[in-house]
Structures are given as structure tokens and as C-alpha cells.
Symmetry: C2
DNA sequence: ATGCTGTTTTGAAGTCTGTCAACCTAGAGG
DNA sequence: CCTCTAGGTTGACAGACTTCAAAACAGCAT
């Protein structure tokens, strides 16, 4: 029963996207996935993503002091991560908490899985 | 003995970089890795990377016709992938062949591995 | 040598990105 | 109501990115 109805909230990572080393990616799929990689393509955002992914959730007030950047700049980078679908945010009282979106994260990981095509290349 | 002297051609993917969901990434590491993600953050380059990674090696002459872009533009994108350390190129006679760099590819995959920290978040 | 084909480099135009200052909004607490 | 703090939004600017045309380079074949 539990296998019959998969919890497909978004597209299933693997079913939708075999690793890029297995089959050439078509233009449509690339247009969807590239923005996710792009979001991770900035050192600040990569660190933000890592800080968020390393804990169940984290407050912006704990993210900002880790950088020599203004609040608006951090806010901007968080927005990019949010719009790429990599993280979610939720206001609880005074503070805003960020959380990784595991499905998106898994999808990216699946795309970079090494091909089992051979043992050499 | 075999464990004592690791074949460290480049930095060992896993030893150097635990998944970003395990431990926050420091600024130095982010500065090294972000350009790789950035290189994959363009739809054209993502497709190029996928085409290259799907086969042992591939000629530029087989890459260019897959896009509605000029030769120089494709060449530029290939250069970005090359300088990010994701692919290698080799001229053989008239044509230039591109090949994925498995170590870099593995490193990126390892970074996106899902944390085994828990089953919930 | 001369030409032909495949690939890269150079130069330039237009667009996008990262950053901050200034301002605005949401909630807590008088 | 007002004030204070935490975050986000807007506007602006310097620098980077994508793209192409033109030129340069590399190798094969007359």
C-alpha cells in the first residue's frame, strides 16, 4: 500500500531526471535545473545553503553575522535560494526561519550521481 | 600500505569536502566549489556537460550542432567548463575532443549527498 | 605554398548580478 | 498610540556574463 501511492509532492527526482552522466539533458530540463545550480554558484549562497542544510532549521539572525555583508545583501541571496526552490522560509513571531527543501536537494544530488556505465571514465 | 599513500592527484572529494548538509562550508572551500556550480548554472553549459558526461569523449563538432548558437559561443562555454575543472580537452588532428573529469564530477556529487543526520527534516 | 575546415581568441553590445544605502513592513512591548 | 528590532524591498551603480562578428590559429589536402 505504501508503495502504491508515492508521496509525489513535486516531480520525483530520479524518475524525472536521470543523472546527467547517463543521458544527455534536453533543453527543457536544463532550463529548469540550471537555475538551481546557478543559485549555488555564488560562494555566499553556497555557504548559506550549507548552513541551512546542516541543521533542521535556522534563523536569519544566525545567518547574517557569519558574513561581512549587509542585511539586505543576505536577504537578497536568501531570496535567490528561495526562488530556486532550494529552501523554504517561515516567519515565527519576530524571526524568520529557513529550512532546506529536501526534494530539490535530492534532485540535484541525483543529477550528479556518477554513471555506472563503466569503471574507468 | 595502500591506505597510507592515497592516490591524491587532486584533492580527495570526500576527505576534502563532506556533504554541505553535514557541516557548514567555510569560506575558502566555498570559493573553490562555487565556480563549479556556477559553471553548471547555465542551461547551455549544463547540456554541454551532460552530453560530455554521457559518453567517454565527444568532439566539438558533435556538440555545436545541438545548439542554435554560434561556434564561438559554444567554444566560450566549453572554456568555462574547462576552467571550472569539470572537463578536459585534447586536440587530435583536426578535431578537439572533450572528456569529463571524474574527480571533479564526483566531488560535486559528494557535496550534494543527503545527510544521514535524521529521517525527518 | 595555398586554400579549406574546425576551433579558439578578440572586441564590442546588451543584459544580468552583487552590493549597499535608504526606506518599508511585521511583530513585540510598552 | 508609539517605539524598537528583525527582515525584506527599492533604486542605483560597478562589474561580470552571454552572445555574435571578425580575426587568428591549427591541421589537413591539394
Amino acid at each position: 500500500m505504501s508503495k502504491q501511492a508515492l508521496p509525489v509532492v513535486g516531480p520525483d527526482p530520479v524518475a524525472c531526471c536521470p543523472p546527467i552522466a547517463v543521458r544527455p539533458m534536453d533543453a527543457d530540463q536544463a532550463a529548469v535545473v540550471a537555475p538551481m545550480f546557478k543559485a549555488l554558484g555564488d560562494p555566499v549562497r553556497l555557504r548559506l545553503m550549507s548552513m541551512i542544510a546542516s541543521v533542521p532549521e535556522i534563523c536569519v539572525c544566525d545567518l547574517t553575522p557569519a558574513f561581512d555583508l549587509s542585511g539586505p545583501t543576505i536577504s537578497h541571496h536568501l531570496k535567490v535560494l528561495r526562488e530556486a526552490g532550494l529552501v523554504d522560509s517561515e516567519r515565527r513571531g519576530t524571526w524568520v526561519w529557513y529550512r532546506v527543501r529536501p526534494d530539490a536537494f535530492r534532485q540535484l544530488g541525483a543529477l550528479l550521481e556518477i554513471s555506472t556505465r563503466d569503471g574507468g571514465a
